[in-house]
């Protein structure tokens, strides 16, 4: 007579299903299909999709590419640590390094222009968390993740680390300008 006893009818799989129950099952099924379709639709028509373009890399290789961009386009430095502020031309490739416990360098980008951002970590995993936009992406060592970004609002942004990366995790915050 209940869920902790065997079903009272031996042939329970022939019992008709309640009408309202069936209604709900159909609604739930349609809703699941809508949600499935939504992700695909967004790939076709939405503007926020993570490209899954990824390459294997090494720490040295990635650091060298980042250094090359910094050498070419640094416009000034900030803080006592002399973090370079880099203003690459629109359309170019920019390399952001995540390491214990800093994001390096600082980029100065132009509003409405598209850049190709490359992300990789030098040691542990880190979490790219762009604030106050709230775009969050996992950053792995030895993987180079390539994403085209188009800033749509001017301002000063922060990049917070939101993957636990050791005792200095809470000091790992960087900066990014959009002009």
């Amino acid at each position: 007579m209940s869920a902790i006893l065997p079903p009272s009818e031996r042939i329970w799989w022939n019992q008709p299903v309640d009408k309202l129950e069936l209604t709900w099952i159909s609604i739930a099924f349609v809703w699941a299909l809508v949600m499935f379709g939504m992700m695909i639709w967004w790939h076709a028509y939405g503007n926020q999709n993570l490209a899954n373009e990824t390459y294997r890399t090494t720490k040295e290789m990635f650091a060298a590419k980042a250094q090359a961009v910094v050498d070419k386009y640094t416009v000034r430095t900030e803080t006592e640590l002399q973090v370079p502020v880099v203003a690459p031309p629109p359309g170019s490739d920019i390399y952001l390094i995540a390491r214990l416990w800093a994001w390096w360098p600082i980029f100065e980008l132009e509003h409405g222009k598209t850049y190709t951002l490359h992300l990789s970590a030098m040691d542990y995993m880190h979490g790219f968390s762009l604030q106050p936009q709230n775009i969050n992406i996992q950053v792995h060592p030895n993987y180079e993740h390539v994403i085209k970004i188009t800033p749509n609002a001017r301002g000063t942004y922060s990049i917070v680390c939101n993957e636990f990366c050791g005792i200095g995790h809470h000091t790992m915050a960087g900066r990014l300008y959009v002009k």
Binding site: S2, A3, P7, E21, M39, L50, N136
Partner: protein
């Protein structure tokens, strides 16, 4: 092996001696883990409460690791082992298969749990319960987890063996009860899950002692989550089984349709394993096709199954209540429910909170692109405190109110507190989940010692609302801890000092479970359940609104491609 059986005079259930002792053992180990995890929760919450900010950073990360491990792994799995034994030996009225192996495995789990805790409290294993490489814990952190998992795996096999014993010795007629079917689902998922765990934790253990040079971070995350996520499906299967069980115990509720409920469980087995991909949605290296297939096709079948259970459990209660004559309007059956019975109120709060707070948010963040909005923010713990705390833990607490008299033969002490405990703990946890999700929506990071970024050269300043949310997390977190600590105290005191109850006669042969008589009035015409459908539609409306609000939010972000 000689054994005895006793029929509990209060519940009518039959407990076999060895099974009964094993259940008590696991329940007690579970509660002890909850106690340690709960003390850690206090440390976590008092540090994340910005105005208090109690612990230094290194202790905070240690405490957070212990909190995650003791709660999510040890408390829940110990208790689940008790549920497996209950659903097999007790519900099928048979002896437990291979009690010696069961005891050996139980002690293995205890040794593993202690070993991992020692590693954590020694202080060089603050790697969080996920232990992502290349951050390394001490070897005994991993070894303890492996031993614990092996013990749990063996008990899964004892569970299956017990089903075979029941069948072979004809201790029941017809099919196994729905609750046992749910436990079987949990057990099958557990076996898969632990296999996934072994594939990743064993190499990680060898890496920690220097036999393996490097473990790929992405591979680790993908395989680890086949353990980490699927084990949440064990929890869902187990606590849904407990919802059905409590509905049956409190109301005599009969499942609306055995066919539908069992098929829904079966969907869990087929699809849940593969849904683990939603932890990798904001990672590089996996294709969008892979992500969408795994999250939608597979996960939505599981979600679909949960939506079915979410309706059939209250539906069964509504039918039972209407048969008793609570027929007025849409909701008399619900108003006249025993809200003062903690087993029922815990179960109902668990169901509603799991669906509205845990379910909707889980599906939202499981959409490939939306995941970026909350990945690694405190939204994530907000979501899973609605699933594993409100959903699983609260359901377990509710069941315990029933187990203390039935299994421990003691009366629950402080019945006045018992009446309010589920509300105190459950509703406070509703709020904690909500405000954590609120803070996460504003971007606040999880596993983060200081939202003020003390000592950072380029600190970010969170908006005032984020501080407010984290302050509320602190306040209601403390309230929830009071509710949880009160429960532990109450249960432990009752077990030791509660009024002793009659155990029922001991017999040497089990009493066979005969097929219950067909429902009077004919099962073909149970009352309709319009109230439940209305509740389900309210749920769906909330779901749809919340889902699309997040797409709207996503559309305002920088272009990404």
């Amino acid at each position: 092996m000689e054994t005895t059986y006793r029929i509990c005079p209060r519940s009518g259930l039959q407990f076999e001696d060895q099974a009964e002792k094993l259940m008590r053992f696991h329940a007690v180990c579970g509660v002890l883990s909850l106690l340690v995890g709960g003390i850690m929760a206090l440390g976590v919450i008092l540090t994340r409460w910005p105005a208090v900010h109690l612990l230094p950073a290194d202790i905070f990360y240690l405490v957070l690791t212990a909190h995650g491990v003791d709660m999510l792994i040890f408390w829940i799995i110990f208790f689940e082992m008790a549920v497996l034994i209950f659903a097999s030996s007790t519900l099928l009225r048979c002896r437990i298969a291979t009690p010696k192996i069961a005891w050996f495995s139980s002690w293995l789990m205890v040794v593993g749990a202690i070993m991992t805790n020692i590693a954590i409290f020694q202080g060089e294993s603050s790697v969080m319960f996920t232990s992502y490489v290349p951050m390394q814990a001490k070897w005994h952190f991993y070894l303890g987890l492996i031993l614990f998992a092996v013990g749990a795996l063996l008990i899964c096999f004892v569970f299956l063996g017990t089903l075979v014993v029941a069948k072979a010795e004809n201790t029941y007629e017809g099919s196994i009860p729905l609750v046992t079917f749910g436990a079987l689902t949990a057990c099958i998922i557990a076996i898969f899950t632990i296999a996934g765990g072994a594939i990743i934790l064993v190499p990680t253990f060898f890496w920690s002692i220097g036999y393996i040079r490097e473990i790929d971070t992405l591979m680790y995350r993908v395989i680890w989550w086949s353990l980490g996520h699927s084990s949440q499906q064990i929890n869902v299967s187990a606590h849904v089984a407990i919802w059905y069980a409590i509905a049956a115990i409190v109301f005599g509720a009969k499942p609306m349709s055995e066919k539908v409920s069992r098929t829904a469980y079966f969907l869990y087995i087929l699809f849940l394993q593969l849904a683990s991909a939603h932890h990798i949605l904001s990672d590089p290296g996996m294709s969008s096709e892979w992500k969408i297939v795994n999250t939608s096709y597979f996960m939505y079948f599981a979600v679909f199954a949960s939506m079915i259970h979410g309706m059939t459990v209250p539906g069964a209660i509504e039918q039972a209540q209407r048969l008793k004559g609570y027929n007025k309007g849409l909701f008399e059956w619900l108003r006249k429910a025993p809200w003062g019975n903690p087993a029922f109120s815990a179960m109902f709060l668990s169901l509603v909170g799991f669906g509205f707070l845990g379910g909707i948010t889980g599906v939202m963040m499981g959409a490939e692109q939306l995941n970026m909005l909350i990945h690694n923010t405190i939204y994530v713990p907000g979501h899973f405190h609605a699933t594993v705390v409100v959903g699983t833990t609260l359901a377990f607490m509710g069941l315990t109110y029933f187990l203390v008299p039935a299994l421990f033969k003691r009366e629950v002490m402080f019945p006045g507190f018992a009446k309010i405990q589920p509300y105190l703990y459950g509703l406070a946890m509703y709020i904690v989940s909500l405000v954590m999700m609120g803070a996460g929506t504003l971007g606040v990071s999880r596993r983060h010692w200081d939202m003020a970024f003390a000592g950072a050269p380029m600190a970010y300043e969170w908006p005032g609302a984020a501080y407010l949310m984290m302050g509320l997390t602190g306040i209601f977190g403390v309230v929830a801890i009071v509710g949880g600590a009160g429960w532990i105290l109450q249960i432990v005191l009752s077990i030791f000092f509660g009024k002793k109850l009659e155990g029922g006669e001991q017999r040497s042969i089990p009493q066979v479970l005969t097929l219950p008589p067909p429902t009077p009035g004919g099962a073909a015409h149970p009352p309709a359940t319009p109230g439940t459908l209305v509740l389900a539609l309210v749920f769906l409306t909330a779901f749809i609104l919340y889902y699309f609000v997040n797409w709207k939010y996503l559309s305002s972000l920088w272009g990404l491609s």
